[in-house]
């Protein structure tokens, strides 16, 4: 994989690259079956201390089951879940040093905001003065001071979300589990809250495990993402790696927008690999590493923003360039998306930044265009 070009965003923090690092949370060959349905299938995963880790996948992929096994609400059918080296099997939820923020928030409707936050602290038999101090701190941290005496039904959705967060943070758990934490918020509030969560995680130095189906959410917040499908982990990597070097068609397709070109390997050499597109007359020359041998059918995945689009009839070469006809244009303000047909049925997508305020489009429907890309723009996928 083209790893040299991309590294973690925060270079200083990458314990997963250190082979001697001890994982904080570990799933060891965990399987969970509900009757005939296998929710999680023989899955192993290591999460490190102070990491912001995201489990990403569609509904029914097993991500919530993973989180519930860590919280203690589900018992693995096989395998072990370890926290700080200790096997958690047999430990009930109320004795685990993890706290969870529920998707529905699950606030206690008969208690005030204060009482909700203090609930967990009271279970620990903490002193009254200490509880008050901690509650005040949590209210300040989540900017809920004016609402301390209110009941949950007197709060807006965003405020409820913050109460749920404050309540799960109040006990200073070693691990905070967040189940679709921003799912119920509107877009603007969601973006603000994403950054608030990241700041909180750095400030409190906790391990965060977030479960989400929203790839943008995972990309923004997480140090590493595990993409899950049908009870299995497809890829675990940092957001840039996931985006730029997906290991399968599933991941490439799930994260962001992608052009998937079916092609046949012509030759492999020191300089890279040469592919012949299956449905159109162009050749792909790429530095992407692959185990495929000449004659194999592979997929070349390239992101739309890496596809250049210029007006023109013919290209000087057919290497990394394809002639096409503009079929659809979507103007999104910051960018425009062009769908261009390379033959009767197949479309390649190109995203063009609208760098000028030009309203008249220089390229419009049915124009003949040349699509081109660099040698390192895409990746070869075999599965």
């Amino acid at each position: 994989m083209a790893k040299k070009a991309i590294g973690p965003v925060r270079r200083s923090f990458a314990p997963w690259e250190d082979p001697s690092a001890v994982p904080f949370i570990e799933f060891r060959n965990v399987t969970k079956r509900f009757g005939d349905f296998t929710a999680v299938n023989n899955l192993s995963l290591k999460i490190f201390e102070r990491e912001f880790f995201a489990l990403l996948g569609g509904s029914g992929c097993g991500k919530t089951t993973m989180m519930r096994m860590l919280a203690g609400f589900e018992t693995p059918t096989q395998g072990q879940v370890l926290l700080a080296g200790q096997d958690l099997s047999g430990v009930p939820p109320y004795r685990r040093p993890v706290n969870m923020m529920f998707q529905s928030y699950a606030l206690f409707p008969h208690m005030s905001v204060e009482a909700n936050i203090a609930f967990g602290l009271k279970q620990d038999k903490m002193g009254k003065a200490d509880i008050e101090a901690r509650v005040a701190e949590m209210l300040r941290l989540t900017k809920l001071e004016p609402f301390a005496k209110r009941k949950p039904h007197q709060l807006s959705g965003g405020q409820r979300q913050r109460v749920a967060l404050a309540r799960s943070l109040a006990k200073r758990p070693k691990v905070l589990l967040l189940d679709e934490p921003l799912g119920a918020l509107d877009r603007k509030l969601r973006e603000e809250t994403q950054f608030e969560l990241m700041d909180l995680q750095e400030e409190l130095k906790m391990t965060f495990l977030v479960v989400t189906h929203d790839q943008e959410e995972a990309m923004t917040m997480a140090d590493r993402i595990a993409v899950m499908d049908a009870g299995e982990i497809v890829q675990v990597a940092t957001p840039p790696e996931i985006y730029e070097a997906p290991n399968s068609r599933f991941v490439a397709d799930f994260i962001g927008d992608v052009n998937m070109i079916e092609a046949k390997v012509i030759e492999t050499s020191e300089d890279g690999t040469r592919l012949q597109a299956a449905s159109a007359d162009f050749v792909i020359q790429t530095t992407s590493e692959t185990t495929a041998r000449p004659g194999d059918t592979v997929w070349y995945a390239i992101r739309p923003e890496k596809v250049r689009l210029v007006a023109g009839d013919t290209s000087p070469s057919n290497i990394n360039a394809a002639a096409a006809v503009v079929w659809d244009i979507a103007y999104l303000g910051d960018v425009s998306i062009f769908n261009a047909r390379i033959n009767e049925t197949d479309v390649l997508r190109s995203t063009v930044t609208n760098a000028t305020r030009l309203v008249e489009r220089p390229i419009t429907w049915d124009d003949r265009v040349i699509l081109s890309w660099d040698q390192d723009a895409g990746v070869i996928l075999t599965k």
Partner: protein
Amino acid sequence: MRNGPTWFNVTSLVLGFAFLYLPIVLLVIFSFNESRLVTVWGGFSTKWYVEMLRNDQLIDAFWVTIKVAFLSASVATVLGTMAALVLVRSGRFAGRSLFSGMIFAPLVMPEVILGLSLLLLFVSMDQARGFWTVMLAHTTFAMCYVAVVVQSRLVGFDKSIEEAAEDLGCPPVRTFFLVTLPIILPGVIAGWMLAFTLSLDDLVIASFTTGPGATTLPMKIYSQVRLGVTPEINAVCTVLVGFVTIGVIAASLATKRQHLQRERDERAAIANAD
């Protein structure tokens, strides 16, 4: 379409309500009758109320009834709530639908059969019949009503609220008392009140299962009426009707106000959202 009242609507309304309330209104009016004859109006008087208070047998029966109703409603609430929890919560177990069907059965079972079977049970157990057997019998059938009422409250219950409590370090039993019970409390109270009223006005089952020294008010009224209706009985019934009416009005006012307050709060929360 006309929205105003038509003669048909007005007639059916008047007829319907007359059908429902005429007997009760007559009963109340004749409780203030001067005359000893129930059907002949002899002028206004409250003497039958004074008479009623002097009647020790009636007062005794009243207290027996209240005690039976209070105890059986309380026991039935505990048992019924437990049954509802098991039926809603414990997921699928063998015979679950059989059990949930069986909890409804006593609701439609003829009271005579229920009373008779309980009597036979007490006899075969060689149990002396009296206050406690009536109390147990009332608990038995009131429990089903409580279970049904509480069940309906539990069905809409977000189970993750309980999980949140456990997640925050609260063991299951404490979670029930700190979180679950306060949330389902309106249903539990409604169940208790239903059980209380059912026990208050039950005649058939009480007659089957009672013994010497434990005569409930409905039994007393019934036995007196067989000797001839006196305005005194009318007075007792009027007092009972008064109690029930006040109770029902108070309960509905309380829930209505609570509901309105909640709606206002929610609107305010949305308006103040930052």
